[in-house]
Symmetry: C2
DNA sequence: CTGTTAGCGCATTCAC
DNA sequence: GTGAATGCGCTAACAG
């Protein structure tokens, strides 16, 4: 009923009694078409259920109406969320998304990038595994990095240092002084930035006279890493133990909460935990996780709009992270909290 | 250095001293090319760094070298895993993947399906939200459903009834007699099948003289649903309580474990829990989750191979689920377990 | 076995 | 303001 025999542009032209050129102009929204033919063409399109052949159109422009997306790993909930938002927004704008995972392998990243570019998408949005992208994106394809910067490309990022600082501020305001920081892998710039931001802020606070003791524990972004570090760390007797943990990712934080519970420590009564990212799971676990939210939705929207604004140049934009206070943080049990 | 000026097929032909037809034949692996020209063409391709223009190629065949993937929700870990496997396998076979989410909305599913089909992918693999697909997939595009059947299409599925039965068998073998089943949403066929399979097996077992008490609790597949049902259920005093829970999804099972722990019940000592799916998280939580594994990797491989075997017709295939025994199940505390 | 050539469906010059 | 003609890069059908 809906799909007849796949009308093509010249069927529409014949049906409307005009030439294909005119139909094409109508399709392009070219205002130089008189009212009469315009209406007839529109009617013909409607009547025949005509849909322009995207593939043929692509040959002319040497570009397909698709946005490429290259991420490290779709199993990482943060990237899944990013992909989800990008897909939704791109779809609403009439663009499909080509998904490609590098699986954190730079060689694979290079191959995947080339493979995606070969499809000639109008744009590509990527989360680079390193700051130097494996292959260049040739000119007509608009390229934008997201989540992490890449040399030579505009980037949609979050101020990681500020985000980490906000997490520390929150814990300090609750009265915590002995705090552990669970760092992410040293080879990702975001992990390094978060750590730097955290330590910098700690110094600033110390300089104002509030003595702080910060333990840094290097690890990975994943669940297991957080659990393992916490398991070791929380064995210590109460007096020597940290009263709060700030993690470089929600997954780490969730792992830490799990470990704490196994050791009989109540979160947040005995131990406060703050995460980073605000993945979906963060608000589902018990206790609901206090975390530093990266505005994934806004970032995705900005990214898609930017790459689709073909007449504007691509510019970098940095977002601010935002503290989301939920149930995994509470005043320090030992000392009186500063009620800020 | 790598990308010159985008050589095209006639540049290669000129460089090799042959015609474009010969180059095309070499590209297609047509054996009717003599050794001499073959080598010269290959050398020319190499030297010029020639890569066929996928878009132009697509215009001829009216098909792009891409596989469409339509799933309900990439944030669901099970579908994320499916997408991950499909992407990896398709990429290795030289095909990109267009990702599209219906967000469990049939209207959106219909729109997304049409949008993806408009790109003219060689094939589309989909997880239908209902058994009646919203729009037809026209002939040249190969269509295959996965995870759930769709009327009129070949399907790659798992025997849900058998999977549920295996879970029950495991619990019964451990000596459990009072068992709760957490069902999935009634409007998905897999949830209904799992429930049926579970109850059928329970009847079979009862018929052999082993008295079983099965509580069915309807819910959703997600984490929260499992947690909430378990929270209500496990309030009962020890004697009246079930000793084991079988869930229709790993997310439910993980939620149930969380609730049990909050109520002071040890898993698996006081309560055994078995999940369904074997998502990545299942082997990461503590205790590691005993679950019914759906062979996602094999299914994905089978699906991709099938849609890319252009000369073979698409056929349905049903896989068997497999019990993965980990740490969330143990002999029933009250009774002596049957050591099977 | 290989060269030549006609489109694939559309957008975009040019004429008119 | 509109129509006719050209070509995007490639594949396949046909000739040789």
């Amino acid at each position: 009923m809906e799909t007849e025999k796949r009308a093509k542009i010249r069927d529409v032209a014949a049906h409307a009694g005009v030439s294909v050129g005119t139909v094409s102009r109508v399709l392009a929204g070219n205002p130089a078409v008189k009212h009469g033919p315009l209406l007839r063409v529109k009617a013909a399109i409607e009547e025949l259920g005509y849909r322009p052949n995207q593939v043929a159109r692509a040959l002319r422009s040497n570009r397909i109406n698709v946005i490429g997306l290259l991420i490290p790993d779709i199993l990482n909930p943060y990237f899944a969320q990013l992909a989800n938002e990008l897909e939704r927004i791109a779809a609403d704008a009439g663009y499909a998304l080509i998904l490609s995972s590098s699986h954190n392998d730079p060689k694979r990243e290079a191959r995947q990038l080339v493979a995606v570019l070969e499809q000639k998408p109008v744009a590509i949005i990527f989360v680079p595994t390193s700051e130097k992208l494996a292959a260049d994106v040739p000119a007509p394809t608009r390229a934008l990095s997201i989540d992490r910067p890449a040399l030579g490309y505009a980037a949609i990022t979050v101020d990681q240092r500020q985000g980490a600082a906000v997490a520390l501020d929150h814990l300090v305001a609750l009265g915590h002084r002995r705090i552990a920081y669970f760092a992410g892998p040293d080879n990702t710039i975001n992990a390094r930035e978060r750590l730097d931001g955290f330590l910098n802020r700690a110094e600033e606070i110390s300089a104002t006279g509030t003595a702080l003791s910060i333990d840094v524990h290097p690890g990975d972004f994943d669940f297991q890493s957080g659990e393992q570090i916490a398991r070791d760390l929380l064995q210590k007797p109460r007096g020597e133990r940290v009263t709060a943990i700030a993690a470089a990712s929600d997954q780490q934080a969730i792992g830490a909460i799990r470990a704490a519970r196994d050791l009989g420590l109540a979160v947040p009564t005995d131990l406060s935990v703050v995460g980073f990212d605000d993945i979906t799971l963060a608000s589902l676990i018990v206790p609901r996780l206090t975390t530093v939210q990266q505005p994934v939705g806004e970032m995705a929207e900005t990214a898609v709009r930017a790459v689709l604004a073909f007449d504007a140049s691509l510019e970098s934009q940095e977002f601010l992270a935002r503290l989301i206070v939920r149930d995994s943080t509470a005043p320090c049990p030992a000392e009186e909290p500063d009620r800020a």
